[in-house]
Every structure is written in structure tokens, then in C-alpha cells.
């Protein structure tokens, strides 16, 4: 901790990390351009997305003011609340598009799984950081229980995408806590071993179809394979420089489904080409890098683990989304973070980045 950190600048007093904010704003700005094109130049759509972005930024700013210690203290109660809400969905939730994800609160529809995306890494970081690191094996049992309950509840809804994200955020905490490689290896091995069980007992038919479709999309080009084929055509036909903004025929002529939500990356690939994709990947890498820097500089284990987990979950979003849109992962409902049209994921993500900023700007400066 060097001396110049003593002099707090305006951003630190506002609990804002400027490098991270710049990265986030760049991504959101890029997203606006793409949504304008993908949404068919619909200004009402743009209005709604702008409102969401503004709201997300406000929430991020608000969360950044909260001391991480507060989060740590409230971690377990939040987790329990999340579990109760998930159970509520299981018994009383609304069925929508074949999945039971929503809880009708009367004034709004709410997805408890979304809350879990943040509550869960906080809980995990709280649990692990209670013990000296690296954690001993005997603490692991507790961690696995904390991990499995929400993951299975969400997977049962079914919402495979979110359950992967939630599980991943917990696993990242364990990994970053310095768990021995042998346990990490064993864990990865057991997950791989569980895949057949997942296939036979937990996956719905439509999920199995998605996996099979990934392996051979041309088998049913107008049915199950349609999304992925049209998406690959969009990306591939973009070439090096792309067809130009508003010029993507796959998206403008509506061959590409869900083009302003989950499949928005295909629009980027089509209209901005490999160069545009590279720019986006670079921006993401920058934000991830900054997140990991913040994590590394954090002063408590809890803060480090939480910051690292949030950052890596952000990466999982990116990897799963781009992987599915470009045809190397099965189709799961994961949006492209900060770019896709839609509110829930953006709110969750920006809350997460608010936590990162809080962690970075609430450091105590210890004189040694």
C-alpha cells in the first residue's frame, strides 16, 4: 500500500473505480449501437434500454457505497432468504415458456435465481473466509452443501444457464481460496463423471435436443437447428470487416432469431466482422483484468474471494453466450453481459460491479 493512496481523489470519495467504470460504459455504449441495429431501429426499445442502463448505474453507485463488511455480516441471512424464495418458486411460481422461474410479487415479477447469482458468491466467500486459507478438507463438506442446494433448485426450474452461473461462482470462490490442486482436479473429475446422470435425470428433452443440435445443427435446419445455423451464417458472413452497421442482412431481414437479446453477438459478428468481435473480446478482457486487479488488491479474504468470483462469473456469461452463439456450446439462456437487451441480467451484473467498486474504495490504509 503505497503512500499516494492516502490522498483520496474525488472518484475514491464517490467509491467509483474509474478504469472499471470506463470499461463498463464502453461496453454499454457499444451495446446501445448494436441494439439500435438489432432491434430494427426501434426508438422505444432504445428508451427502455437506456432507462435500464441508467437504473443499473444508479444501483451500482448505491451498492458501491456499502462497506463490504456489511455484506459479509448479512451474507448468511441473504442466502437463506434466497433459498426460501427458490422454494417458493418451486411450489407457487409462475410457469412461463415451460419453465418455472418467476415469482409474482403482485407489483412485479421477480426471479429469485437472479438474486442468488449475487447472494451465492457472497455466502461462499463469507463461509470460506471464516477459516484460514487454504481451507482444510473438513470445511469442504459445508461448502458443497451451500453450493448444491441453490444449484439444484435452479436447475430444476429448469434454468440450466443460471444454475451453471451460480455453481461456477461458488466453484471460483473455492478455487481462488487456494484449495489444493488435487481437490480441484477431483472436483472437476466428479463433475465430468456426473454428466451422464445430469443427462438422464436432470435434463429436459428440450435441453437434450439442444446438445444434440450443437453436434449436428443441419439435421433439423428449420427446427431445432435453425437458431444455431442462422447465427453461424450471420457471424460467418460478416467476414473480416463485417457488413456494416444496420447492414446485416441476417439480422435486418429477421433470419436471426432473438437478435437483440441472447443472440446479439451474431449481429456484432455480422455487422462488425472479426474486427468488431475482437474489439468486444478485448473490452471484456480489460474489464475482467481490472476485476482481478481489484480482487488482488483487496485487503480481506472475503473481499478478495468475492471480487474474484464476481469477475469470473462475468467471464462465464461471456464465454457461455459467445460459445453458444458461435456454435461451440449448446444453447442455454445466457445473455451477452451489458450488451443484450433486457433488464434483469444488467441489474445483477451492475450490482456485482458495484460490489467490486465498494471493495476497491473501502480499503483501510494501514500504516505499517
Amino acid at each position: 500500500m503505497s503512500a499516494h493512496n492516502h490522498r483520496q481523489n474525488i472518484w475514491q470519495r464517490l467509491h467509483i473505480d474509474l478504469p472499471l467504470l470506463i470499461g463498463l460504459l464502453a461496453l454499454m455504449g457499444f451495446g446501445l449501437f448494436v441494439i439500435y441495429s438489432a432491434g430494427g431501429e426501434d426508438l422505444a426499445l432504445m428508451d427502455r434500454q437506456l432507462v435500464r442502463m441508467g437504473l443499473s448505474l444508479v444501483i451500482m453507485f448505491a451498492v458501491a457505497q456499502i462497506n463490504p463488511e456489511v455484506l459479509r455480516r448479512w451474507a448468511f441471512p441473504i442466502y437463506i432468504t434466497g433459498i426460501i424464495l427458490l422454494l417458493g418458486v418451486h411450489f407457487f411460481g409462475e410457469i412461463n415458456k415451460g419453465a418455472q422461474r418467476w415469482l409474482n410479487l403482485g407489483f412485479m415479477e421477480f426471479q429469485p435465481s437472479e438474486l442468488m447469482k449475487l447472494a451465492f458468491p457472497i455466502t461462499m466467500a463469507w463461509y470460506i473466509s471464516k477459516f484460514p486459507l487454504p481451507p482444510k478438507k473438513r470445511y469442504l463438506a459445508g461448502a458443497i452443501v451451500i453450493l448444491l442446494v441453490p444449484t439444484l433448485l435452479i436447475a430444476k426450474q429448469p434454468d440450466l444457464g443460471t444454475s451453471i452461473l451460480v455453481a461456477a461462482s461458488g466453484i471460483f470462490v473455492l478455487f481462488l481460496s487456494g484449495m489444493s490442486w488435487r481437490i480441484v482436479g477431483g472436483f472437476i473429475g466428479s463433475v465430468l463423471a456426473m454428466l451422464p446422470a445430469l443427462w438422464f435425470f436432470f435434463m429436459h428433452d428440450y435441453q437434450r435436443t439442444r446438445v444434440l443440435t450443437l453436434l449436428n445443427p443441419e439435421k433439423d435446419p428449420l427446427g431445432a437447428g435453425y437458431h444455431i445455423i442462422q447465427s453461424k451464417i450471420a457471424i460467418g458472413s460478416g467476414g473480416l470487416w463485417g457488413k456494416g452497421w444496420l447492414e446485416g442482412t441476417q439480422s435486418q431481414l429477421e433470419f436471426l432469431p432473438e437478435r437483440h437479446t441472447d443472440f446479439i453477438f451474431a449481429v456484432i459478428g455480422e455487422e462488425f466482422g472479426l474486427i468488431g468481435s475482437l474489439l468486444l473480446l478485448t473490452l471484456y478482457l480489460y474489464v475482467i483484468g481490472r476485476g482481478l486487479v481489484i480482487a488482488s488488491r483487496a485487503q480481506t479474504s472475503f473481499a478478495r474471494l468475492l471480487a474474484g468470483s464476481i469477475t469470473l462469473t462475468f467471464f462465464v456469461y461471456i464465454f457461455v453466450n459467445i460459445g453458444m452463439v458461435s456454435g461451440i456450446l449448446p444453447v442455454v439462456g445466457v445473455p451477452l453481459p451489458l450488451i443484450s437487451y433486457g433488464g434483469t441480467s444488467m441489474l445483477t451484473l451492475m450490482t456485482g460491479f458495484g460490489i467490486l467498486m465498494s471493495i476497491h474504495t473501502h480499503r483501510r490504509f494501514i500504516d505499517r
Binding site: L253, F319, S326
Partner: protein, 618 residues
């Protein structure tokens, strides 16, 4: 600092550095995984770019072929014989219509749909792809088109398709020469595909089926154009990207003379028979009539099987092109040619005279071959033998020359082989010889066969076109053309005359023999039918024992007598000095040639040579 505290501090430092190592490792993993995404994108966007670009274009670009308009057909004077008429049909895309039977009921109030029509639409729907247009009603009148257009907004998914359909304004008058177009069928398609022509029919639904329409199909068709349209995922056209207009088919002018053809039709008046007229100066066919004829227009729209069967089963066989496929014994109309052979082969001389007692006998044989004039012609030479059509003279002549010499001599006159006229429906007729009979019937040739051939009967058959062609060569004194119907082709700027196909002429050892024969034909004409003509003509009539046109035809008891009557034939040309028209007329079962076919020839030559408006040079 207490030891406890130091340990904690050390632990904190160790924890921090452990985290940093893990974080760095994770960052590397992230970098590698993002690179993996990038490599995959590189594969899609750079390495497979061409493939995906093609597929993207296939998605969005629809190439719509545009039909060329078919070339028009005119007669030699520019009278329109085959035209293209606007044609409207009501089409529906079933996918876009919510309640089809209700929509049909509403449509019925506007353009009057019968219950049958509605039912057939409902029926057709069962075997129809929902997004392909289906025809509800053909041949809308202009009133119906207007009525519908006003109400179009009430009928989403239903539209009027406009096109052009062939129309033959003179109905049956030209059918056997023009032929007609009809819907392309499976057989047409197979043969087009075999000849790599199929792509030219991308937007065209009809093809020439017969006659000129078939023979000059490629010329009349033109080349299709293309519209490249951008469509969205529902197939709706967003905009036109490119358009390449079609190249219309070439207009053609035929050698046919509409007025002459009309006159021939009027003269035959539905009787079974045929008229062929040729301009001897270039072989152009002036008239080509096969009677009775039929209206080709129903064939364009798809003739009903009932109507078609009626034509097919009619005992007067209207579908057969008598002019080019009807095979008739030429009878006495070939006596001039036989006489010419006699003179050339020196079997006779202009001075040769024989006594005709009314019959002829093969030397040493009892059997009598009768002359048509039972009491005989008395002394006849070559001129009076032709003028009087003396059978005995020609029995003797044939006997002297033999059948093989006749066959050999008649070959350059076009007997026994196709003339090569520019329609496909043509028969070769039969010019018999000893070899022919052995091949055909595996029988030896008898002398009696030769005697029959001597008066143009027996095995000898010709088509009216062959007869006219042989007469043309006679009128031309040996000059020969391939008879043809195409006169000229309209290019973008000028009418280009179709080249005439002139064959090597027949050269006689004694050219004066041409004159002896044509003088005899002139005398024939002017001692009978053309006695009072204002021009000089040449003629020879013939009366043939019946050659049944269709051997398998079932004759009604009532018509048997008529069908057994002789065929009446005549060949004629005029003006004698410098012929401009040659005729062959055949009337089936009409009886005596001079009495029945002769007046037709006279009337046609009068029409052609004496009508005021006629431009004789053209």
C-alpha cells in the same frame, strides 16, 4: 508485536500471495478461453467466410425469373396470325388466408365463383403447399379484374396475376401450319433438360407443340430475364436488387398468304381434303390447308378431355395434317412427270402415237387393263395423252420403262421422301420400286404393279405437299427448292429474309422436253377448266381409287358409300409463261378430279392472280 499477531500477519501475507497466484492463473485461463472463442470466430469469419456469405445470400436473395414475351407470327403481308393476349388469373397464397371457405364465398359475390369452382379450390388445397400460390380462377374478364382490384384490401393473400397467353385470331384457319402452344408437360421437360434448354423455361409455362410453333420454338421463345429480390425470413420482398429484362422472342413472317388460305378454306367448306400452294420462285408455301380443321385456342388453355376426345374420335380426322401427312395415290396428276420420263428415256418421242381401244394388254397376256374411257381415245400422242389423261398410253409407257426407272426418275421430284418443310409433322409417302417391295412386303415385283404405277396408283402415294412440290419443279423446269413456311425474321431493326434452300436442279438431256410437257398441261387447262381464264394456266387433274387415310377407321354403314368414292386431285400453276403460284388440291371421296378439284384450283388461281390489292412482286 506478539507472536500470535505475527503469525496472523504472515498468514495474511501468505493468503494474499496465494490469491494473487491463483488470480494470475485464472487470468491466463480466461485469456486462453477468450482466445479459443477468437479462433472459432476466425474459423467462421475468415476461413469459412465464402461458404457463409453464400448461405447468407441464399437466405436473402430470391431470383425470380421473368418470362420473355413470345415472338409473334405474321403472314407474308404482315397479317397477325398468332398473338399474345393479356391473361388474368386470381391466385391465393393459402398460408396468408385465415378462413378460406369464407373468403371464397366473399370472392364469389365479387367475381362470381360457381360452387364447382369453390369446391375444386378446396380440393386442390389438400395437395398444395401452403405458401405457394394457387390459382382460384383463370381467364378473368377485365370487368372482374377491375371489380376485384377495388376490393383487394378485403382479401389479404389473394392477388391477380397477369400474364400473356397465345391467341390465334383466325382460330382453325391456320392450325395445321401454325400448330399451337400448350402447357409444358413431363415429356417436354425431359427433352428440354436433355438438351440443356430447361433453364430458358424458368418463367415460361407454354411450349410449341405442333407446326411452326414447335419448329421455331427456340426463335419464338426468347430469353428469360431475372429479378433479384431481397426477401425477409417470411419471404416478403423487401426490395429489388437487380433486374435483367427478358429478351423477347423474335417475330417471324411466314410465306403463307392469309387471303389465299381463307379462300381455300372457303372453297373446301369443311370437306375432307387439302390445298397446298407454293410460290415456285422460292419454294415459299402460300397456302397449306388441311380440312376439316380445328380451333387451336382451347389447346393453349388446356383443352378438356371431352372436347379432345371428340376431335380424336371424329371420323373426319381433323387432328391429322392432311397436307403433309395425308397419303394419297397421285393418280393422273403425275402423268406429266411420267411422260417427261418417257421422252427423256426415249421410250417415246413427241411423235409417238399409239392406238387406244379402251384397254391395254401386257404383250402375250390375256388380261385387259381398262382405260377410264371405255370406248378408247383412238390415236394418241404424248400431248393428247396428257390432255385426255389417256391411261392406255401410260400403261404402255410404264411397261416400256419399268418401275425402277420410274422410281429413279421421280426421286429428284421429291416423291417417296420428306420434302424437308419446316414443320415436323410430315410423312414421306411411297415411291415404289422392286427393292422397296421386297423390303416392305418380302414379295417379288409383278409387271401388273408397274402398270398401276404407270397411272399413279398401286403402291405409289404422295402427300399433297409432295404433289405441289413435284408440280413446282415441273413449273420451274427443273429448278428445285425445299418448300418452306418461314419467310423472314424480325430483327431489332430490320426484317431479315430467311435464306431459301435451293437444291441442285434437274437437268434434262433434252431441255425442250420440259416445254412439250408444260404445253400439254397448258392445253389441258385451257381445253377445260381454264377455257375462259384471263391468264394462261397449266393443269393436270387426277381421280384416284380410294386410299383409306386411316386404315383402322370404323366406318358407319351410312357413310360407307361416300368413303368408297374416288379422291379428286388437281395440280395447276400460273401464269404459264412465268409461274408465280403452283397448286395441289386433294378432295377425299369427292369423285371425278376434273369436275370436283378443278373448280377449287380455278377459283384459287383467280383469287391469287386477279385480285386487285395483290402486289404481284411480293
Amino acid at each position: 508485536m506478539s507472536p500470535r499477531k505475527r503469525i496472523t500477519m504472515n498468514d495474511h501475507a501468505a493468503e494474499a500471495s496465494l490469491f494473487k497466484r491463483r488470480a494470475l492463473f485464472t487470468f491466463l485461463c480466461v485469456f486462453i478461453l477468450l482466445s479459443l472463442l477468437f479462433v472459432n470466430l476466425y474459423q467462421l469469419q475468415i476461413l469459412s467466410y465464402n461458404d457463409y456469405e453464400t448461405r447468407s445470400n441464399d437466405n436473402r436473395i430470391r431470383v425470380v425469373p421473368v418470362a420473355p414475351s413470345r415472338g409473334l407470327i405474321y403472314d407474308r403481308n404482315g397479317q397477325l396470325l398468332a398473338e399474345n393476349q393479356p391473361f388474368f388469373s386470381l391466385e391465393m397464397v393459402p398460408e396468408k388466408v385465415d378462413n378460406i371457405s369464407e373468403t371464397l364465398d366473399q370472392l364469389g359475390q365479387i367475381i362470381s365463383l360457381t360452387d364447382d369452382e369453390k369446391e375444386s379450390v378446396i380440393e386442390a388445397l389438400k395437395y398444395h403447399r401452403r405458401f405457394k400460390p394457387l390459382t382460384i380462377k383463370n381467364k378473368l374478364t377485365e370487368e372482374q379484374v377491375a371489380e376485384f382490384s377495388v376490393n383487394q384490401h378485403r382479401f389479404p393473400g389473394i392477388s391477380i396475376e397477369a400474364g400473356l397467353k397465345r391467341h390465334y385470331p383466325y382460330n382453325g384457319l391456320m392450325t395445321h401450319a401454325l400448330g399451337y402452344v400448350g402447357r409444358i408437360n413431363g415429356r417436354d421437360r425431359t427433352s428440354l433438360e436433355k438438351n440443356n434448354q430447361w433453364s430458358n423455361y424458368a418463367a415460361t409455362k407454354d411450349i410449341g407443340k405442333l407446326g411452326i410453333e414447335k419448329f421455331y420454338e427456340s426463335m419464338l421463345l426468347g430469353k428469360p430475364g431475372h429479378l433479384e429480390e431481397e426477401v425477409n425470413n417470411r419471404g416478403r420482398t423487401i426490395r429489388t436488387l437487380k433486374s435483367e429484362p427478358p429478351v423477347p422472342g423474335q417475330d417471324i413472317y411466314l410465306t403463307l398468304d392469309l387471303n389465299l388460305q381463307k379462300k381455300a378454306m372457303e372453297l373446301l367448306n369443311g370437306r375432307r381434303g387439302s390445298v397446298v400452294a407454293i410460290d415456285p420462285r422460292d419454294g415459299g408455301i402460300l397456302a397449306l390447308l388441311s380440312s376439316p380443321t380445328y380451333d387451336p385456342n382451347p389447346f393453349v388453355h388446356g383443352i378438356s378431355s371431352k372436347a379432345y376426345n371428340k376431335l380424336l374420335n371424329s371420323t373426319s380426322r381433323p387432328l391429322i395434317n392432311r397436307a403433309t401427312q395425308g397419303q394419297y395415290a397421285p393418280a393422273s396428276t403425275v402423268k406429266p412427270h411420267l411422260a417427261l420420263l418417257g421422252l427423256e428415256s426415249k421410250a417415246i418421242t413427241p411423235k409417238t402415237r399409239i392406238w387406244d381401244p379402251g384397254f391395254w394388254q401386257i404383250p402375250g397376256v390375256e388380261r385387259k387393263y381398262r382405260d377410264w374411257k371405255r370406248w378408247g381415245h383412238g390415236w394418241v400422242d404424248v400431248n393428247s395423252a396428257i390432255v385426255g389423261s389417256c391411261d392406255t398410253y401410260f400403261y404402255d409407257l410404264a411397261y416400256k420403262t419399268g418401275v425402277d426407272a420410274i422410281a429413279k426418275f421421280m426421286e429428284p421430284f421429291g416423291f417417296g421422301e420428306r420434302t424437308g418443310v419446316d414443320i415436323y409433322e410430315e410423312s414421306a409417302g411411297i415411291m415404289p420400286s422392286k427393292d422397296w417391295k421386297r423390303l416392305r412386303y418380302n414379295q417379288p415385283w409383278y409387271i401388273g404393279d408397274t402398270i398401276s404405277v404407270g397411272i399413279g396408283q398401286g403402291y405409289w402415294t404422295t402427300t399433297p405437299l409432295q404433289l405441289a412440290n413435284a408440280a413446282t419443279i415441273m413449273a420451274n423446269k427443273g429448278r428445285r427448292f425445299v418448300p418452306h413456311l418461314l419467310k423472314s425474321i424480325q430483327d431489332q431493326t430490320a426484317k431479315i429474309d430467311s435464306p431459301t434452300d435451293e437444291l441442285a436442279p434437274i437437268v434434262l438431256n433434252t431441255p425442250e422436253n420440259w416445254d412439250i410437257i408444260s404445253e400439254a398441261m397448258r392445253d389441258t387447262a385451257h381445253k377445260s377448266r381454264f377455257k375462259d381464264a384471263k391468264y394462261t394456266a397449266a393443269m393436270k387433274t387426277g381421280t384416284a381409287q380410294v386410299f383409306s387415310l386411316a386404315e383402322d377407321a370404323k366406318y358407319d354403314a351410312d357413310t360407307i358409300d361416300e368413303r368408297l368414292r374416288d379422291n379428286a386431285l388437281v395440280i395447276a400453276y400460273a401464269p404459264y409463261e412465268n409461274p408465280t403460284i403452283v397448286l395441289a388440291v386433294v378432295l377425299e371421296n369427292a369423285g371425278w378430279g376434273g369436275k370436283n378439284a378443278g373448280p377449287v384450283a380455278r377459283a384459287l388461281l383467280d383469287e391469287y392472280l386477279l385480285r386487285d390489292s395483290w402486289d404481284k412482286k411480293e
